[in-house]
């Protein structure tokens, strides 16, 4: 495609340096022992996308099993136990191996130091350790699938998880290790943002992506240890019967839910905030307009991070909390709508009267806005006590969180991947195929999950293997939608990989971005910048410059 050029794009354009971070050193060891945040980011990208593929295959199998009430899969009968394993592996892989580590580990690792004008993250070796912990955790998780099976769902709810014979202990140990990987990544980013900003860059000069990732990192550091100790308690309960979660030996199963959601609700924001962070970059860049309400977006990221810690009880409205507690949790949950609304309002206002161009990343950003609006609004149904009692554990919940986790975060991730792909690889992906895949993604996603809202409101319970015949048309519709998603992702993988075979053709700043990562070459040199960049203008400064015209 023709690179988009705006006023600032050609400024500072220079011949591509011969040595960059990809070719400066060669060989297995130069990657395995690297401390370069860019290489670690690439390795995280390969790892998390592989997990995405594996989790996606399980998702397709779940949908295919539900195509007909006969549960045939390529002519074979799927048992209820097998079905339980399918959705557990889909959920656990997607949450712990893909969504939580993907944007922080891959894209953020790559661009955050560049955006701050830094040479690396604060603790490069800790960054590598985090990657290795992820790999160990992934191997353990996959081993637990091969050795035995986990059929608890990704939430590991007691008392089932303390009594089932599956390899729950190994799986939870894997998640424990993955948790520490996440903590180290978050810790690194917090320290990097605090201490490694370019000279002259104050807190309110940072790109909004950095604000979003900073908020994410704070949650990673503060919430994940609680998950870690909860999983240790679960493992000990299984192995030594310590009597904390299992009511037969004097424990309290609901206590597990409290512990689990004290982490896992903030974890929802570990998943969505990075998506919001990416959108805050895409919208101004492709609207050619200074972002509207910079401070409001920055503060809303932080307030979402804080609110995330005090709403966990809304996962347990029917689990036996006191009436007072559920009312308070419901009211607090509604507060989440405020910063979320602030963000959407500011993104839309940024687009208003902007010079919008519809390149692939922007198509994903616009999809995000629509899908997040649906995901967010249906969240209010679930935060409302009277409707939640009806909707708890139905497909409505499944559709809601897929709109947020997949429709929002994964959409933003793919958009961000296209946005920074030229910077990471030095190559422009095919714009034509990109747009086709983006449209297919949007269609396929809605085809899959809109019917699930209807299914859920009519009483189809989640995680059930059997369903009434009357639900069959909607289940079939949803399954066909999942094939369109699969097709879209397959296309995306194909043309992104195909672009790697081309010679490097990406300019330093293909999209006319204003943040610092576009000031270095594509791909960047090992030390990121030839000279220490100094902040010259606020982020997203798209005002016409009198000097350059």
């Amino acid at each position: 495609m023709e690179p988009v050029l705006t006023s600032g794009a050609r400024i500072g354009e220079r011949p591509r340096p011969k040595k960059n971070y990809l070719n400066e050193t060669k060989g297995f060891k130069s990657w395995a022992l690297t401390v370069d945040h860019k290489r670690i980011g690439i390795m995280y990208l390969v790892g998390t996308l592989s997990a995405f593929l594996l989790g996606g295959i399980f998702a397709l199998l779940v949908r295919l099993t539900l195509l007909t009430p006969q549960h045939k899969l390529f002519g074979l009968q799927v048992t209820a136990e097998t079905y339980n394993r399918f959705f557990t592996l889909h959920g656990a892989i997607m949450v712990f191996l893909f969504i939580i580590p993907s944007i922080p580990g891959s894209l953020t690792n790559f661009v955050l130091p560049l955006m701050l004008g830094a040479k690396d993250v604060a603790f490069p070796r800790l960054n590598l350790a985090s990657l290795y912990l992820w790999i160990v955790g992934a191997i353990m998780a996959i081993a637990s699938m091969i050795i035995g099976a986990v059929d608890t769902g990704w939430t590991f709810y007691t008392p089932y998880s303390t009594t089932t014979s599956g390899t729950v202990t190994l799986m939870t140990a894997a998640v424990f290790v993955l948790g520490f990987s996440s903590i180290f990544t978050g810790l690194n980013f917090v320290a990097t943002v605090h201490k490694l900003r370019a000279p002259g860059m104050g807190w309110f000069d940072m790109p909004l992506f950095v604000w979003g990732m900073y908020s994410t990192a704070v949650i990673q550091v503060l919430a994940t240890p609680v998950l870690g100790i909860t999983l240790v308690l679960l493992m000990l309960e299984r192995v030594f019967q310590i009597g904390i979660f299992d009511s037969r030996i004097g424990g309290d199963p609901v206590l597990f839910q409290h512990f689990f959601w004290f982490y896992s609700h903030p974890a929802v924001y570990i998943m969505i905030l990075p998506g919001m962070a990416i959108i805050s970059e895409l919208i101004p860049t492709f609207s050619r307009k200074t972002i509207f309400g910079y401070r409001a977006i920055a503060y809303s990221s932080v307030s979402l991070a804080l609110l995330s810690f005090i709403v966990w009880g809304h996962h347990m409205f029917v689990a036996g909390q006191s009436q007072l507690a559920v009312v308070i949790f419901s009211a607090l949950t509604f507060l989440v709508a405020i910063p979320s609304g602030v963000k959407v309002f500011n993104w839309l206002t940024t687009m208003y009267q902007g010079n919008i161009s519809l390149e692939t990343p922007m198509l994903y950003a616009i999809s995000f806005l629509m899908l997040f609006a649906i995901g967010g609004l249906t969240g209010i149904f679930l935060g409302t006590l009277s409707t939640d009692v009806h909707l708890t554990d139905t497909y409505f919940v499944v559709a809601h969180f897929h709109y947020v986790m997949m429709g929002s975060t994964v959409t933003a991730f793919i958009g961000g991947l296209h946005y920074w792909w030229p910077k990471m690889t030095g190559r422009m992906p095919s714009e034509k195929w990109g747009r086709i895949a983006a449209v297919l993604w949007f269609i396929g996603f809605n085809a899959t999950f809109l019917p699930q809202f209807i299914l859920g409101s009519r009483g189809m319970p989640r995680r059930y293997y059997n369903y009434l015949d009357q639900f069959q048309p909607l289940h079939a519709f949803s399954t066909v939608g999942s094939w369109i998603i699969g097709l879209s992702l397959f296309m995306t993988a194909a043309y992104l990989l195909a672009s790697l075979r081309k010679p490097m053709d990406a300019p330093d700043n293909p999209w006319g971005g204003t943040t610092m990562e576009w000031q270095t070459s594509s791909p960047p040199i090992t030390h990121n910048f030839e000279d220490q960049p100094v902040l010259e203008h606020e982020p997203y400064d798209y005002r016409p410059k009198a000097v350059t015209h």
């Binding site: 030594f240 004097g250 309290d252």
Partner: protein, 238 residues
């Protein structure tokens, strides 16, 4: 911690090239020190949250089985002059408090270029940590002998704390989990302190560069502080 090791090979030649501990992505040694310290504080926050989950779990179980927990905690006491007194716990509290003091002296000595003194105080801290673990070993052996073990291994044979009653096994499960996790932290601390002793003897620390001593000091204080909370929780409840 990754920040504390030297990185001589990949020197970028920025800032103060004369200091071999200066990592290339920091502009100044001061920035590097501040960043490392911030990283350590964040890590300590995760430690507190990790133990926090156990403290909350203990509190909830205690409110579920208040009588059983009080009866069980009597078994952590020893007979001192005919009266029950948490002798081992009290001694260990004093041992750790003193070790915190020796640690502070060690950091101070490193900051003021006193190599011999640094080594001496660090070694003293290690010795005190070993005393702590030694006493813990004696304490654990008594519990093992009495069958006061966590969960399914609980096998106490006497008229009180009968096996099969909910609460007792849970108390000892938490006792072993929390003091055990703390003990592991003490062990890690001994490892870190030994590594500091080796480096201090090589004369690597000075008023210019004492980050590792400072950071391990912070770690050691948090380990000490957690014990300060564990002691009343387990040994002094009534």
């Amino acid at each position: 911690m990754s920040t504390t090791t030297t990185d001589v090979q990949s020197h970028g030649g920025h800032g103060e090239p004369d200091n071999p501990h200066h990592q290339h992505h920091f502009a100044t040694m001061e920035q590097q020190f501040d960043t490392s310290k911030l990283g350590m504080w964040l890590f300590l926050a995760t430690e507190i949250l990790l133990f926090g989950g156990l403290f909350v779990g203990f509190g909830l179980m205690q409110s579920r089985y208040p009588r059983e927990f009080i009866e069980a905690h009597e078994h952590l006491k020893q007979d001192v002059f005919g009266r029950p007194f948490p002798l081992y716990g009290a001694i260990n509290t004093i041992v750790l408090l003193v070790s915190s003091w020796t640690m502070v002296m060690g950091v101070n000595a490193a900051q003021t270029d006193q190599k011999k003194k640094t080594v001496r105080y660090l070694v003293l801290t290690i010795l005190l940590a070993c005393v702590f673990l030694g006493i813990k070993y004696v304490e654990y052996s008594h519990k093992f002998h009495d069958g006061l073990l966590p969960g399914m291994f609980y096998a106490h044979q006497s008229e009180d704390l009968i096996k099969g009653t909910h609460g007792y096994a849970t108390f000892f499960a938490f006792y072993f989990m929390m003091t055990g996790l703390h003990g592991i932290h003490v062990l890690v601390g001994i490892g870190l302190l030994s590594w500091l002793v080796v480096r201090a003897r090589r004369g690597e620390f000075s008023s210019e560069y004492y980050t590792p001593v400072d950071l391990v000091g912070l770690y050691w204080h948090i380990v000490d502080m957690i014990w300060i909370y564990l002691f009343p929780l387990y040994y002094l409840i009534s």
